[in-house]
């Protein structure tokens, strides 16, 4: 083909200008129609209820009785309610007990799974994800039995070495440890894979060069693995914090005698469980919504911290 025999431009074949305008309108609108189902459903089941929660929070709202506007009374009541602060404290305690060991464990595991000479690497990498795909209810039931005071495997083992049985569910720290163990068990594999994926983008030559230069395993971990994972570590800290603020199923299922309060003295009642107890146990919809709003504010605050941290990391580079 030579320069002189260029094929005609496609535009030469186009119909007169009026027709593309009509078709263009349909074409311009059709993408919106394609994505409309998601946004309509999101609006009905996500956005509207979300906004409506703020509205309900201003009422003394009895679902089968009167709805009285009370302004911010639900919030004043909440700030003076020891149960709210108890739930907040429990949530933070369970969050700390679950997130920190979980991330450390995942970090070490990812480092090991990324090792060049690891055999059956795929098998191990897939195995860590098994707890994540197990139903959370099944996990909770199994763990509650393992940790049971009278018939639990753990107390049986403790008994073999002469330790008195521990009532995990009924004690504050015990129930927190139990729930944190379940959360860690469920999420560590997911976090490990995130770290591993990020680690694999680090050229192996970097590790090899460090090894040749005499860096031991700990130094390679400390000076290569951790720094190269910094953005994803921040990401997992934030997601597990937001997830940690909303722990619900585990505390609901472990204290079968008093599920909505997670025990007689609310020793493991988290914020979401408190919300559920008030909203759907006591049917105080207004108060329940106010707790939901408070929870939302906390989540937003953490998301904001995330944003600040991640922009700073970008700026550092």
């Amino acid at each position: 083909m030579t320069a002189g025999t260029l094929t005609p431009l496609p535009s030469a074949d186009l119909p007169p200008p009026a027709a593309p305008k009509a078709r263009g309108l349909g074409e311009r609108l059709s993408p919106y129609a394609y994505i409309a189902p998601f946004f309509v459903i999101f609006g009905v089941f996500g956005l509207f209820p979300f906004a409506f929660t703020f509205y309900v929070a201003l009422f003394d709202w009895n679902p089968i009785g009167d709805q009285v506007f009370i302004g911010v009374d639900n919030f004043t009541r909440m700030f003076g309610d020891p149960r709210f602060w108890n739930a907040t404290g429990n949530t933070l305690s369970i969050w700390a007990l679950s997130t920190i060991p979980q991330l450390l464990l995942a970090l070490v595991l990812a480092h090991v799974l990324n090792h060049a000479r690891l055999r059956f690497a795929l098998f191990f990498r897939m195995s860590v994800l098994v707890p994540y795909v197990t139903s959370v209810a099944a996990t909770a039931i199994v763990f509650a039995q393992l940790f049971d005071r009278d018939y639990g495997l753990l107390n049986w083992l403790l008994g073999l070495v002469g330790v008195e049985p521990v009532d995990f569910v009924q004690s504050t720290w015990g129930s927190h440890v139990l729930i944190a163990t379940m959360v860690t068990w469920r999420w560590f594999g997911y976090t490990t894979l995130l770290y591993l994926a990020s680690l694999q983008s680090v050229p192996r030559s970097v590790f090899e060069a460090a090894a040749i230069d005499g860096a031991g395993p700990w130094q390679r971990f400390r000076h290569i693995t951790v720094p190269s994972l910094r953005p994803v570590i921040i990401f997992t800290v934030v997601t597990s914090t937001i997830g940690g603020l909303q722990i619900f199923t585990e505390p609901l299922l472990i204290a079968s005698g008093a599920p909505l309060t997670c025990g007689a003295v609310r020793q493991c009642q988290t914020l979401t469980l408190f919300l559920y107890e008030q909203g759907f146990g006591q049917f105080e919809f207004g108060y329940g919504s106010a707790i939901g709003v408070a929870l939302f504010v906390m989540v937003v605050a953490i998301a904001a911290i995330n944003y600040l941290l991640s922009t700073r990391i970008k700026a550092d580079r």
Partner: protein
């Protein structure tokens, strides 16, 4: 994925439920030949429904076993707030007051002829479903009564009598019950009863003449000496070392019952079914003795018709027939629920009824006796929440090492928070 879904979905449910205004629409509009019936699971309601449809082949009943009594009440609340309501619903006595407070959600059964059958029922049971302007919201289907179920084999091993008369004589009072517990513990080293909160406090507090509310419907839970006395009994039992510290209906409680970890458990009539299904291998090893203290009642349910029901008349026909004295007597023979109609308490079908699971104990007689001379008290909208906090306070002492000296004050403070007083 784990980010905001729980918050959003909770908000979604809240708003969906809240968005609809209650009490819209009137009754009627159905075909009158079929109706929907919401009941609890695990109470064998199907037997009674089948008995009715066998007699009335033209009637179709859609029975839904929603779940526990609490779950049924929660579903009903959601339905009343805006969903599809059943034509007939079973409400447990503890959940009833919150509905009685909002009578506009239900058919006033007087409009269907409730006044004609009122005389058949124990008046204190009937009165619990009467709202402030006299509306009748429910017809009582059964009452609990009270007794203690005990293991004859374990009692024998501890050197205690096993005959139900002799065992009843062991504990005329709750103090004597606790003393018996100490004897049992000393002889066997094992727990005597399942827990103090439910088996002692919750029974004793239902044997009073005035509970959390006074007769004129004022809150008196913190000043009523009868409540305090029951609470102190609960604490005394919790600290006496005679309980196995397992909350009723917990999994460890069920396992403990099957393994004979405790020898006695407080048993309103509906608890017998629970023992049967929890520990089927212990058949014949149980017997039933009188409850310590005075007469009293725990439990019992009501049938109500929501205002927006499509077939209120068909539902009412069912109530009228199946909850008549004879209907309840047949129900007792079928599943053991104690009738709320005193006219059948002398009927041989009830007095001669023996339960082989419980060493042929005359259950009908034991439970109706426990109701004789009962002094009714008012149950208010916050009664369930108050009772729960008292239970929690005793459980805290019993299972979590709470301080018995401050338990009462803690409970009262928690109640004030819970009911927003």
């Amino acid at each position: 994925m784990k980010l905001r879904l729980p918050l959003l979905s909770t908000a979604a449910v809240l708003a969906l439920v809240a968005a609809c205004t209650p009490g819209t629409g009137g009754g009627g509009g159905g075909d009158g030949k079929s109706f929907e019936f919401w009941s609890f699971s695990a109470i064998n309601q199907k037997l009674t429904v089948d008995a009715y449809t066998a007699k009335h082949p033209d009637i179709e009943i859609k029975l839904t076993e929603v779940g526990t009594s609490t779950e049924t009440a929660q579903s009903l609340t959601t339905a009343l707030a805006g969903g599809k309501v059943p034509d007939l619903v079973l409400i447990q006595g503890d959940n009833l007051p919150q509905f009685v407070e909002q009578p506009q959600n239900f058919v006033d059964l007087r409009t269907l002829g409730a006044d004609d059958i009122k005389g058949d029922y124990l008046d204190w049971v009937w009165n619990q479903s009467v709202a402030k302007d006299g509306e009748v919201l429910g017809v009582p289907t059964d009452v609990g009564g009270m007794a203690v179920a005990y293991r004859t084999d374990l009692f024998a091993a501890a050197g205690l009598p096993t005959d139900r008369e002799a065992v009843s004589a062991l504990w005329p009072t709750w103090d004597a019950f606790i003393e018996t517990g100490k004897r049992y513990k000393q002889a066997t080293g094992k727990a005597f009863t399942d827990n103090a909160a439910t088996s002692v406090f919750y029974q004793a507090v239902n044997q009073v003449s005035e509970k959390y509310y006074s007769a004129d419907r004022k809150l008196v839970y913190s000043t009523n000496p009868q409540v305090k006395a029951a609470f102190d009994l609960g604490i005394k039992a919790a600290t006496a070392g005679i309980t196995s510290g397992q909350s009723s209906f917990e999994s460890a409680w069920s396992a403990g019952m099957a393994q004979g970890q405790y020898a006695a458990v407080s048993a309103p009539s509906w608890m017998l079914n629970s023992i049967r299904s929890t520990a089927p291998d212990t058949k014949g090893k149980w017997d039933i003795a009188k409850i310590p203290g005075a007469s009293g009642n725990w439990g019992g349910s009501y049938l109500a018709i929501p205002k927006r029901a499509k077939n209120p008349q068909a539902a009412w026909n069912y109530i009228k027939e199946m909850q008549s004295p004879q209907g309840q007597l047949e129900h007792f023979s079928r599943v053991g629920a104690l009738p709320s109609t005193p006219s059948v308490y002398q009927d041989a079908k009830l007095t001669d009824a023996k339960d082989p699971f419980f060493s042929d104990a005359p259950t009908g007689k034991i439970y109706t006796d426990s109701l004789l001379g009962l002094k009714p008290f008012y149950i208010g909208p916050d009664s369930a929440a108050i009772g729960q906090e008292f239970l929690n306070a005793i459980t805290n002492v019993e299972q979590s090492g709470g301080d018995p000296a401050t338990a009462w004050d803690d409970a009262v403070r928690n109640i004030k928070t819970a009911i927003g007083e």
